[in-house]
Symmetry: C2
Subunit: 253 residues, 2 copies
DNA sequence: GGACGAAAAATTGCATTCATTTTTTGCGAG
DNA sequence: CTCGCAAAAAATGAATGCAATTTTTCGTCC
């Protein structure tokens, strides 16, 4: 089940909304050893090193991370509260696998959070931050024109991330990072490669996003963003299989 | 400020969205001993038995709950990830006190979540569930007319809770319960007693809420709910002092 | 050959123990 | 009397140990 036990746990997938956000959001966990382990273990699971509904072997992980069971179990409890794993009484932890229905629910929550972020961003964003988003948008458009999928994803992710940052709301950032992390386990990127219609649609939606943000039209941006996530969800449907233990995915549309 | 300081700390404010929701949301924690302790400790803190920024004494709590330090520390880690307490390296846990800015942020997130709940509820609510909300609304109106503050709070809370339930989205429920729990530590209820204008305004907003819900106008309801929370936030401002260790508050407007 | 059941092995949950850091206490100097 | 510093006391973070439950294994019976 584990494809390559020799792979080091901290393979970087280039996702911006990862642990930095989570760690910076709660400074108390930033430098503690426990926080470190928590982040590493979370990555280990999110990156798919453990099979879908598989058991989380304490002993093995203890050896792998070079720690005792006590801090590991503490981390497991936290990951369970985050919804990443499931704790069965006297039966240990299992990697929680997302069914189609829960995946849909998670997308909706992401949509709600992005909608909120957009609304708040319209109230608080600085001119400089807006300019940066506009720049990213044009860069993304360039990627779209030359069919650079990877670059497009990166820009897209960066834009959504900047909007959340611009909302300037730490609880929101933390929650957003949490849900984004849960969705990272599913692979639904690269759909645009086969679904050019969706790609064009997404690009048009981003035009609307930028326009609403420029006009600081919070309510409007809120609706657009929620719809945007809904469409992303729709595009991802059918491909909502839980992530096989081979690779992580980017959150993009 | 507070009309009745003699109120017992665990005065039931009609808050349905408490631990039952949290527990039922994550079934793995429902019946385990750890889950039990987690809920108890959370209540213990939320109800204000510990001072604002005070240290969380492990020893004392171990004796109080009749357990060892290991499970207690596990629970503390989880509560820290929920944002209820703060973990300082080598310095133990402290009850996180909400500054004015973070309180505002939390209100906004609650607004975003309620907005999302309203949107989803319009898509999924059953006729029976709507009827129940309508009934509660009229009951609340009755309370309003006869100036029954307590009954009004209970109905108000029940309505918002039903909307979240109607959204039929478990991650949303869990997140909502989490943020509601964090806000429970601040006391901003009973403001309506001195602020009759706000009371009337809130009642009018609830009329709009019901109307939008009846028409299943998701986007509209979403906006109304966010604005409703914004106004609640405004009404609570100035009273955002951290909760002294004597009483809990109800989440109502 | 497959199924049932008991014993062995492993695993979980929690308590206890140990090293390290922090906090308090106590004493002496200014 | 106050300040500073060193030692004692307490508390934290993590490791180990132990009882209880679960999972696996292996032998037996049908």
């Amino acid at each position: 089940m584990v494809p390559d036990p020799v792979t080091e746990p901290e393979a970087d997938t280039g996702l911006v909304t990862g642990d930095e956000a989570r760690l910076s959001a709660i400074p108390s966990l930033a430098k503690s050893l426990h926080g470190e382990l928590l982040a590493r273990l979370r990555d280990y699971i999110v990156e798919g090193n453990l099979a879908a509904g598989a058991r989380v072997p304490e002993r093995i992980l203890c050896e792998r991370f070079g720690i005792s069971r006590t801090p590991l179990r503490e981390a497991l409890k936290v990951l369970a509260s985050e919804g990443l794993i499931e704790l069965l009484p006297n039966r240990g932890a299992r990697v929680r696998q997302l069914g189609a229905e829960e995946l849909v629910d998670l997308f909706d929550v992401m949509g709600g959070l992005e909608a909120l972020a957009g609304r708040l961003a319209c109230e608080k964003i600085t001119a400089a931050a807006y300019d940066e988003i506009e720049r990213l948008h044009h860069e993304m458009y360039g990627c779209y024109m030359r069919r650079d999928l990877h670059g497009y994803f990166a820009c897209n992710q960066a834009i959504h991330d900047r909007i959340v940052q611009a909302a300037d709301n730490e609880p929101l950032r933390t929650s957003y990072a949490n849900f984004a992390g849960r969705l990272r386990r599913v692979r639904y990127s690269a759909n645009l490669d086969e679904n050019r219609d969706r790609w064009g649609e997404a690009m048009r939606e981003h035009e609307e996003i930028l326009d609403a943000l420029r006009r600081r039209a919070g309510t409007e941006l809120s609706d657009i963003l929620f719809g945007h996530l809904r469409n992303k969800r729709r595009a991802a449907a059918g491909r909502e299989t839980a992530c096989p233990p081979d690779a992580a995915a980017g959150v993009a549309s």
